[in-house]
């Protein structure tokens, strides 16, 4: 019920993050262009993960929010990851 003052993020931070995101985008386009076989998927997903981490922390302000919101977000991603892994216990071992 308190209206604590917000942390005001300077424009430049956002610009830097955008630059990083664009960089990773081009990187992933480039990486998947070359034949890496199995690793293409892994590489692309890794880059996507980094990108989403940046979006979550900066654009979505998690860095400046209370810890419990961060914990919730982490928890949800973990649950989802666990669900995928368990689903693959079926498909992978068939």
């Amino acid at each position: 019920m308190t209206n604590e003052k917000h942390h005001i993020v300077p424009y430049s931070t956002y610009a830097i993050i955008l630059a990083a995101l664009l960089l990773f985008t081009f990187l992933s386009v480039a990486i998947t262009g070359i034949e890496l076989g199995e690793f293409t998927v892994a590489g692309a997903l890794l880059l996507a993960t980094i990108k989403s981490y940046l979006v979550l922390t900066y654009f979505m302000h998690l860095k400046f929010d209370k810890a419990y919101i961060r914990i919730m977000v982490g928890f949800v991603f973990l649950v989802f990851l666990a669900v995928i892994i368990i689903t693959f216990l079926d498909y992978y071992f068939r």
């Binding site: 949800v76 649950v79 666990a82 669900v83 368990i86 689903t87 216990l89 079926d90 071992f93």
Partner: protein, 537 residues
């Protein structure tokens, strides 16, 4: 967020005249208590439909061959029975009725965090319910897939599936919104001084439930959308003819629907955890263990869905992983049972109607839960999967669990909700008849399942006859009990003797406000100090 200043505190929520009169004052009210009752009355109506369908099935099964309906009708009846009971009654049931009514009061708040959203959830609920009902009345025949909508049958059948599927989707939405509202309410609106470890157990279970609602419901939502798209466009995701995998449908369906069973049972356990300490006049035994087991059920319950698919042809690895996880999720339930019974130890037990319901809840819940262990083990599940044994398991635990807890809760909080007392004698008579009927109705199904009678069978072989007769008779006895209970409650709501603020000597916050509570519950928000707590007798 209401303007609060000019709402009087000496008028109960039942009498308060807001902007509107009559029916409008209910269906436009954002008061969490009125919304709770709105849910209750709409559920009761739907519930009666479900009960009648259940009775019709039992009547059909009293003898082999056709009794009152033909096979197509029977298939439609159990489908609609399942859909109504699961999606409209027990999933939203206790949170929407008692959660709405009591959560704010029990944590010392004036309302939920988003009262308007709360009302909107009710409208969404009604919309979903109407859609499902519409699928019965219009179109090419009622849905006939079972409440599980298994692919590929669910997009092959000629029946009118779309409204039913869409209705279930909309109902899911309502459930998500309620869950979201409760989480924010619990995080933000607990009374000053009420730390997490001082929160009563019922709100705790609502909290756990709300998380499951939030994280599981969207998965079934998208799955049902895909089934609908499959029917309309033939996108192929679950159609084996186009390369889809029907087993994947089952995975996604149960990723929701198994957690959903814990959505149902957790608030029920919460209600029982309130009733037992109050009637034992004693601090609940092992508060922290009960809280921890609540959260453990909510969490582990998310990862056991595959136990519904032991014969579907999953990989061996998946099968035994799911089996182990299923067994692990039984432990927290066991912990709860032990703690409840220990709470009675050295108490001063006041045996009243709510306590009868709570004690019989523990009994039927144990039967239901322990039969779940038979289903969780691989060898035995292969034998009884999709037989009457499963039907017995889930009626014992869903209906024995949630239904009994509902009745415990209504008899416990009735004086608070309506300010009046019911007739205890009739309430107890209703209970005992109901209890006996219940056992007679569902116990034979265990036996039938062990004999090998498959479920969803319209007709059966002669060797299954005797047990089915007993079961049908039981359904009549139970209905008699239900009628007595409902009549008693309805009469008492109008004309029972006035109940005081705290007829049972309870210690949670709802017993500190008048019965029925005023519109904004508290004149001044209570504050918890070091020594205060929900169960300090």
């Amino acid at each position: 967020m209401q303007a609060s200043s000019h709402i009087p505190h000496d008028v109960s929520y039942l009498e308060y005249k807001g902007k509107h009169n009559g029916l409008l004052s209910w269906i436009l009210s954002t008061d969490h208590k009125r919304i709770g009752l709105l849910y209750m009355y709409s559920m009761m109506t739907l519930f009666l439909v479900g009960v009648v369908l259940g009775l019709a099935m039992k009547f059909e099964l009293i003898a082999p061959g056709k009794t009152i309906m033909d096979a197509q009708d029977y298939n439609a009846v159990f489908t609609v029975h399942g859909v109504i009971m699961i999606f409209m009654i027990v999933v939203p049931g206790l949170p929407a009725v008692f959660g709405n009514f009591l959560l704010p009061i029990m944590i010392g708040a004036k309302d939920v965090a988003f009262p308007k959203l709360n009302l909107a959830s009710w409208y969404v609920y009604i919309a979903g319910a109407l859609l499902v009902i519409a699928s019965l009345l219009f179109g090419d025949g009622s849905p006939d897939t079972g409440w599980t909508f298994y692919a590929p049958y669910s997009f092959k059948t000629g029946a009118n599936m779309l409204p039913a599927i869409f209705g279930a989707f909309v109902l899911g939405f309502s459930s998500i919104l309620t869950g979201l509202n409760f989480i924010v309410t619990i995080h933000r609106m607990r009374a000053p001084g009420m730390g997490w470890t001082k929160m009563p157990l019922f709100p705790w279970t609502l909290y756990g439930t709300a998380w499951i609602q939030l994280l599981a419901t969207p998965v079934v939502g998208i799955t049902l959308v895909l089934v609908a798209l499959e029917r309309i466009f033939g996108i192929g995701v679950f159609d084996p003819a186009l390369g889809g995998d029907p087993i994947l449908y089952q995975h996604l369906f149960w990723i929701y629907s198994h957690p959903a069973v814990y959505i149902m049972i957790l608030p029920a356990m919460g209600a029982i955890s309130e009733v037992i300490p109050t009637f034992s006049q004693k601090h609940v035994f092992g508060y922290k263990a009960i809280v921890a087991s609540t959260m453990a059920i909510a969490f582990v319950g998310y990862f056991v869905w595959g136990h519904h698919m032991f014969t579907s042809g999953m990989s061996g690895t998946a099968q035994y992983t799911f089996s182990i996880l299923t067994f692990l999720v039984a432990i927290p339930s066991a912990i709860k049972v032990f703690n409840w019974i220990s709470t009675m130890y050295k108490g001063s037990i006041n045996v009243q109607t709510p306590f009868y319901w709570a004690a019989s809840f523990i009994f039927v819940f144990m039967i239901g839960g322990l039969s779940g262990l038979v289903l969780g083990a691989l060898a035995t599940d292969v034998y009884v999967h999709d037989t009457a044994f499963v039907v017995a398991h889930f009626h014992f635990i869903v209906f024995g669990g949630v239904g009994f807890a509902f009745f415990a809760a209504i008899h416990y909080w009735f004086p608070k909700m309506f300010g009046r007392m019911y007739d205890s004698l009739w309430a107890n008579v209703g209970w005992i008849i109901f209890f006996i009927g219940f056992l007679a109705l569902y116990s034979p199904m265990f036996y039938l399942g062990m004999q090998g009678m498959p479920r969803r069978y319209y007709d059966y072989l002669e060797q299954f006859h005797a047990a089915n007769i007993l079961s049908t008779l039981g359904s009549w006895v139970m209905t008699l009990g239900l009628v007595i209970i409902i009549i008693n409650l309805f009469r008492s709501a109008k004309s029972g003797p006035i109940a005081g603020k705290n007829p049972w000597n309870g210690k949670t916050l709802e017993w500190t406000v008048p019965s029925p509570p005023p519109v904004e519950n508290f004149e001044t928000i209570p504050v918890y100090h070091e020594k205060d707590g929900p169960y300090e007798y």
